[in-house]
């Protein structure tokens, strides 16, 4: 098992796609940060003072209940009205890149990270079928369940490592841009920890969706078919369904991924009642369960198909 794992790891490392994606990702990050830096400048002391004054004014209004409807309770996720107001009224000079935005930037770029994971997962699952080397592999290790499970583990690890690396590069580049052309005013002391938590969440979600792509590639025996099918499903099918039937959002993988990454539940807008907080349609725990169910079910399907079908 260990030997097979080492072999699969070497195979994944040797794929040109992996370094190409990493290099391409780093280049894109550099370009994006250069553009962000070019459109940003360090705030003047007057701008910082004005922002702080504005923040205090908004905080006072919030504590007086101006930010909530009469009788509306403090939204979920906040421990008190003060906690809510402190986070809702933080005001920093709007002169470009701000250190406090780091976790948000990680979360907002998660779509690209997940797309990268889809391509990686599909390729690591489909390439052997395209080259025909699956037959060669099976003449060395005929236990197909073992082959698929070890490969799934390697796919998950490679995706976590690749996405973690790219997001860390993004974070480091962002910190450099902030130092050169932005501001750290108003950034909470926990910004780095928050950012790394976001990186970890995005990497884990990307790994889950990458495994779904891997499973589809193993069933369809093709990288291209898997990427096409998955993009079609995630973007068109789930997008359209969620638009027409909002009530089933709690069963869709894209929504679940969004909840896990953003740590924000989806509320049931249809159940709005004055004076009552909205019921949660998809909470964090449910979203995690939804993603796990998708991954496990599709891997089981891939396992069954891989075990049952001839390799020609």
């Amino acid at each position: 098992m260990i030997d097979l794992f080492r072999s699969e790891l070497l195979r994944a490392r040797s794929r040109r796609l992996v370094p190409m994606m990493l290099v391409g990702g780093v280049l894109l990050i550099v370009v994006a940060l250069v553009i962000a830096g070019a459109n940003s400048h360090k705030p003047t002391p007057e701008q910082i003072a004005a922002a702080q004054a504005n923040s205090q004014r908004l905080f006072a209004q919030c504590m007086n209940g101006k930010f909530l409807a009469p009788g509306e309770p403090v939204p979920g996720g906040f421990t008190s009205l003060e906690d809510f107001c402190r986070q809702a009224t933080t005001s920093t000079p709007d002169t470009g890149v701000r250190l406090g935005d780091a976790p948000d930037i990680i979360e907002h770029t998660s779509t690209f990270t997940v797309l990268l994971a889809v391509v990686l997962g599909a390729s690591l699952g489909g390439a052997d079928w395209t080259t025909g080397s699956m037959a060669t592999l099976l003449t060395w290790e005929p236990r197909r369940i073992r082959v698929l499970l070890v490969r799934a583990l390697v796919v998950a690890l490679v995706i976590v490592a690749a996405t973690f690396f790219l997001q860390t590069v993004l974070l480091a580049g962002f910190r450099l841009t902030v130092a050169l052309r932005g501001t750290s005013a108003g950034a909470p002391s926990s910004w780095l920890g928050d950012a790394f938590q976001a990186i970890l969440r995005v990497s884990v979600v990307a790994s889950g969706i990458g495994l779904i792509a891997f499973a589809v590639a193993m069933v369809g025996r093709s990288t291209v078919a898997a990427v096409g099918a998955l993009f079609g499903y995630l973007i068109l099918f789930e997008g359209v369904i969620a638009g027409f039937r909002p009530s089933i959002q709690d069963r869709l993988v894209v929504r679940a991924a969004g909840v896990i990454v953003g740590q924000q539940p989806i509320y049931d807008q249809n159940a709005f009642a004055p004076g009552q907080s909205l019921p949660v349609l998809l909470g964090l725990t449910e979203a995690t369960v939804v993603l796990i169910v998708y991954v496990v079910v599709l891997l089981l399907v891939a396992l069954f198909v891989f075990r049952a079908r001839d390799v020609n």
Partner: protein, 307 residues
């Protein structure tokens, strides 16, 4: 007990437009230990499907397949380490180097760099080991496939059309390699449709047609089964020769510049005597031998090209 044992093997494929194609129709086969075993058959006869069943890539619809005494459907993993194989074209990663391809496979079985080098050396690919496989010629890819099969130091080698696409020099190299492997005591199971190749390398053959075994045994026995009795004689005047042999009560027919005489090969003296008595001196006298190709065509002529 044979190294490879196949009993009642049957495999059908579903056609896209309905119906079924019978690839292997109740094949029985036994390959003894050691030496080179030729597995012959026209295209579509079921050779590759049989080999796929042997190495577990395809599940038979019926019958049993045993490798080294182990039922492939249950215990292939126990013996796969002793079985090296190439099924059709050696399928490897084209963008990886030859060495990297072998490293990936070798790690599964705990093979180290020294063993990889030895396998590359054996097939003459050491100098191109660092080059991407996509830059290899067809012959080099075949040799790399053989190197991958040899990496396990197998006691059984299953090679599906190993000379396919090779140039004459490549064919000779592969032939010599197969002979050497067989001489080392390994069992080399080679499928081919290049019959002259098999005739030169194999100790035993099996001939397959329409998914069924038509003939199996040592090469000389299979050749004998299809051998036309008689001798071929070249004389200046074949017609005069025919009459001279007739007067000596030896039946013959004129076949171009030759006389085909219906005698056993050990009756050459009788033929010479009859011809010399008529003042005809043979410039050539030889047994009317047939090659494997003739036997093969004779045995498979009623079977068609495939299922």
């Amino acid at each position: 007990m044979g190294v490879i044992e196949v009993e009642g093997l049957r495999k059908e494929y579903r056609r896209l437009r309905g119906g079924r194609t019978v690839a292997v129709a109740g094949l029985d086969l036994e390959v003894p230990e050691g030496g080179v075993f030729g597995f012959l058959g026209p295209n579509g006869a079921g050779k590759t499907t049989t080999i796929r069943c042997l190495v577990g890539l395809v599940r038979p619809d019926a019958g049993t397949v045993r490798l080294l005494g182990t039922d492939v459907s249950h215990g292939l993993a126990k013996v796969i380490g002793k079985v090296g194989s190439i099924v059709e074209q050696p399928a490897l990663f084209p963008r990886f180097s030859g060495r990297r391809n072998l490293q990936i496979l070798g790690r599964i079985d705990g093979r180290d760099g020294r063993e990889i080098d030895a396998a590359l050396e054996r097939v003459g690919l050491m100098e191109r080991a660092k080059d991407a496989v996509r830059t290899y010629s067809l012959g080099m890819k075949q040799r790399l496939g053989i190197a991958a099969a040899l990496l396990k130091d197998p006691s059984v080698l299953i090679l599906d059309e190993p000379a396919n696409g090779l140039d004459p020099a490549g064919i000779v190299e592969v032939r010599e390699l197969i002979r050497a492997l067989g001489a080392e005591g390994r069992t080399v199971f080679v499928s081919s449709h290049i019959l002259s190749e098999v005739q030169q390398t194999a100790d035993r053959v099996a001939i397959l047609a329409r998914g069924r075994l038509v003939k199996a045994g040592p090469v000389h026995e299979v050749l004998a089964a299809g051998r036309a009795r008689g001798m071929l004689v070249r004389v200046a005047d074949p017609e005069a020769g025919r009459r001279a042999l007739e007067s000596a009560r030896l039946s013959s027919t004129v076949d171009g510049p030759l006389l085909r005489v219906d005698v056993r090969p050990d009756q050459g003296e009788q033929v010479t005597r009859a011809l010399v008595a008529a003042d005809l001196y043979p410039s050539e006298l030889r047994p009317d031998e047939v090659d494997l190709e003739t036997v093969f065509l004779e045995l498979t002529k009623d079977e068609g090209l495939g299922p």
